[in-house]
């Protein structure tokens, strides 16, 4: 199929996709769109359906209902080989009997490009991913990171409309992961290819993607920019998945929830907790500020240096778990272990969750206390 690049408008869409495996529904009315040049990440635990979404987009699986559109055209019935998509798999997708160069050139060979020309282009792409010294090596002579670079080069060789990355870094060492992450993003941005990234690693999704969709049990719970997702999570699951939260028990009031002496609006009132009942607020470590107060209930029990910020662990007799407050290290230097501290929540709203039995008891106990100020 002919895709002159100047006419590409790879607006990619999945509309109301439903997928069942036997009795199990893996995708429920999944709707997703990827703009031209945009990288969208699907983030979620294993089994949430993210890989299935990618495979349906690729044509490797077919949806039970719903549509797949590329450039406005319905490609649901088009087989994979005609969809002009680049795919990078998790591992072991290189053809073992071909060199790196021949692997990368394979797509061009299928398209009938002449030998000299395709070898040259393959060489260029391998140089782009930093492997110009390895062009004649075989996959089993290369490390995992190198293999994934070749896989990326191979997928780019056909100048795809869409790039699909199925957990491309999951099988790699942490250090290699970091390097490759930046490179993939750099190449994707410079080429302007619409890209779908599937991963269970929230750090990867947040760092690489323009928008992140958090998936759970076949649905996208929330989709937005990393800042949106991190700063304004809509559900307890998302709040906990895309970063760290403190679970702090409090009592629901008429307008919101009273926790740590502050009245906060509830972001997810659909959870339906009655007034005067306990609930748990999910507050990020950096959204709490500390002030030295020897008369306060909470005491500093530990400080963990993390680089430019320090995690200050704070404990109260009533609460089973300590709370974690993240401060810039210079600010954290003012606090010592054993010191009493006042806490001030720096937000106006919070996500709440149903409390565990223990948390409910703690909420009641804390509400007896007069004041935190």
């Amino acid at each position: 199929m002919n895709h002159p690049r100047s006419l590409n408008r790879p607006h990619v869409e999945l509309r109301d996709v439903v997928k069942k495996y036997g009795p199990k529904t893996v995708l429920r009315d999944l709707t997703l769109s990827i703009g031209e040049g945009e990288m969208v990440a699907l983030l979620g635990p294993s089994g949430c359906g993210k890989s299935t979404s990618l495979r349906i987009l690729a044509g490797l699986e077919s949806a039970d209902s719903g549509q797949v559109l590329i450039g406005g055209k319905d490609v649901s019935a088009t087989p994979t080989r005609e969809r002009n998509m680049g795919i990078v798999f998790q591992a072991y997708s290189l053809f073992p009997h071909l060199t790196a160069r021949d692997n990368v050139a394979y797509g061009l060979r299928i398209r009938g490009v002449k030998t000299a020309e395709r070898r040259r282009r393959a060489g260029e792409l391998l140089e782009l991913v930093g492997l110009s010294e390895h062009v004649d090596k075989y996959p089993n002579q290369m490390s995992g990171g190198q293999q994934q670079r070749v896989a990326l080069a191979r997928s780019l060789a056909i100048e795809p409309d869409v790039l699909l990355l199925d957990e491309p870094l999951s099988a790699l060492d942490a250090k290699v992961r970091g390097q490759l992450r930046d490179e993939i993003r750099r190449i994707q941005l410079s080429r302007g290819i619409a890209t779908l990234l599937v991963t269970h690693d929230q750090e990867e999704a947040i760092i690489m993607a323009d928008r992140v969709g958090v998936m759970r049990e076949g649905r996208i719970g929330q989709i937005g920019t990393p800042a949106d997702l991190y700063g304004n999570p809509q559900t307890p699951f998302i709040a906990g998945f895309v970063g760290i939260v403190n679970r702090i028990p409090g009592i629901v009031t008429d307008g919101g929830i009273r926790v740590l002496g502050a009245d906060l609006e509830i972001v997810n009132p659909e959870l339906r907790v009655d007034a005067a009942q306990p609930a748990t607020a999910l507050i990020r470590p950096e959204d709490i500020d500390l002030a030295h107060d020897d008369a306060a209930r909470f005491k500093v029990t530990d400080k963990q240096l993390r680089g430019i910020f320090t995690a200050v662990m704070v404990q109260d007799e009533v609460l089973e778990q300590p709370l974690r407050i993240d401060l810039p290290t210079r600010a954290a230097d003012r606090f010592q272990v054993g010191m009493g501290v006042q806490m001030a929540v720096q937000r106006r709203d919070t996500v709440i969750d149903h409390p565990t039995e223990r948390e409910a008891a703690e909420a009641q106990a804390l509400s007896q206390v007069e004041t935190y100020r």
Binding site: A58, G59, L60, P79, T80, R81, E82, R83, N84, M85, G86, I87, F89, Q90, A91, Y92, S93, L94, F95, P96, H97, Y106, G107, R109, I110, R111, N140, S143, G144, A151, R154, S155, A157, I158, L164, S170, A171, D173
Partner: protein, 314 residues
């Protein structure tokens, strides 16, 4: 006794898509006599002594005899006679039988292996067929021959069925002839091929097909460019093993055809047991030629699969 297989009962193969960390380093195991302590040699002594006494020494004795003339002096005359005009026909017939059963067994065996690897069917069925394949590949022997006589002999069960549908169709067929023996050999050749190909076909990653498809390849192009090139060394290697297996088989052929089929192992048997002329020197020479052929086949197999085994592991 038919030659043995590479693996026992194979596990029901899982989905070929494997995910895991970097390929492990190859362990370097260089064998030097320095690393042996006297203790370790002692512990292994019973085994090595046993193998020496009942395998190595007889083979050497056989080799020596093959290169002697009837008077006991060194000579290549006996070896020459063994491939002379009298016996050439036997070698040719045995080669034909072995090639035929290897190729047919190979094709059917690959199909069976594909079905086992696909893991698409019910799990209990795959496991059952897998176990029985392992057993069937070892079943060459007299009992198998008699079972086939019961099935396809003149009074056989299946012969009767065929006769009732198409009378006269089985008139020319004899289970004790070349074609009949071929069919019986296939009973163990097909599962043997399947078992030999299981590891290789299980090593074909699903991601290869999907990657090829994303690059624009049709199913045929994938087979041509990826699957076949990766698998053909294993296929040829396994065919060679099947060939060697058929070449060496004795019991089944003898139980079916007695002396009427002019196969090399049968001829050797006659020479050893003194049915014709007690001529152990000639028997030794024939044995040596047979072992050379088998060794050559296994040697080629080893060279072929060394490279492709790497591709299919991980």
């Amino acid at each position: 006794m038919t030659a043995a297989v590479d693996a026992l009962t194979p596990d029901t193969p899982d989905a070929p898509d494997s995910t895991g960390p970097e390929p492990a380093e190859k362990k370097s195991s260089r064998f030097t006599f320095r690393t042996l302590s006297s203790g370790s040699v002692l512990g292994a002594l019973p085994f090595f002594a046993f193998v020496a006494a009942f395998l190595i020494i007889p083979i050497i004795a056989n080799l020596i005899r093959a290169f002697q003339d009837p008077a006991g002096r060194f000579s290549v005359a006996t070896m020459a006679e063994a491939v002379g005009p009298t016996y050439r026909q036997a070698f040719w017939l045995t080669t034909q039988l072995s090639l035929l059963t290897a190729v047919i067994g190979g094709v059917l065996g690959v199909i069976l292996a594909w079905a086992l690897v696909s893991a698409d069917g019910p799990r209990w069925l795959t496991s059952l067929v897998s176990s029985f394949s392992a057993l069937a590949s070892q079943s060459g022997g007299v009992q198998l021959a008699f079972a086939f006589v019961a099935m396809l002999g003149t009074q056989g069960m299946v012969t009767g069925w065929i006769e009732s549908i198409a009378p006269g169709a089985m008139a020319e067929f004899s289970i004790t002839g070349f074609l009949g023996v071929t069919i019986v050999y296939l009973y163990f050749q097909v599962p043997l091929m399947a078992i030999l190909m299981l590891p290789a076909m299980g090593g074909v990653k699903k991601a290869w097909y999907e990657a090829a498809a994303s690059l624009g390849a049709s199913k045929f192009q994938y087979l041509r460019d990826v699957a076949v090139p990766v698998l053909w060394p294993s296929i040829i290697g396994s065919l060679l093993l099947l060939f060697a297996n058929a070449f060496a088989a004795y019991a089944t052929a003898y139980a079916l055809a007695g002396g009427s089929l002019n196969l090399v192992p049968i001829v050797i048997g006659f020479l050893i047991s003194g049915n014709v002329l007690l001529n152990p020197g000639l028997a030794a020479a024939l044995v040596t030629w047979m072992m050379i052929i088998i060794l050559a086949a296994m040697g080629i197999r080893f060279l072929l699969t060394r490279k492709s085994d790497q591709w299919l592991s991980n």
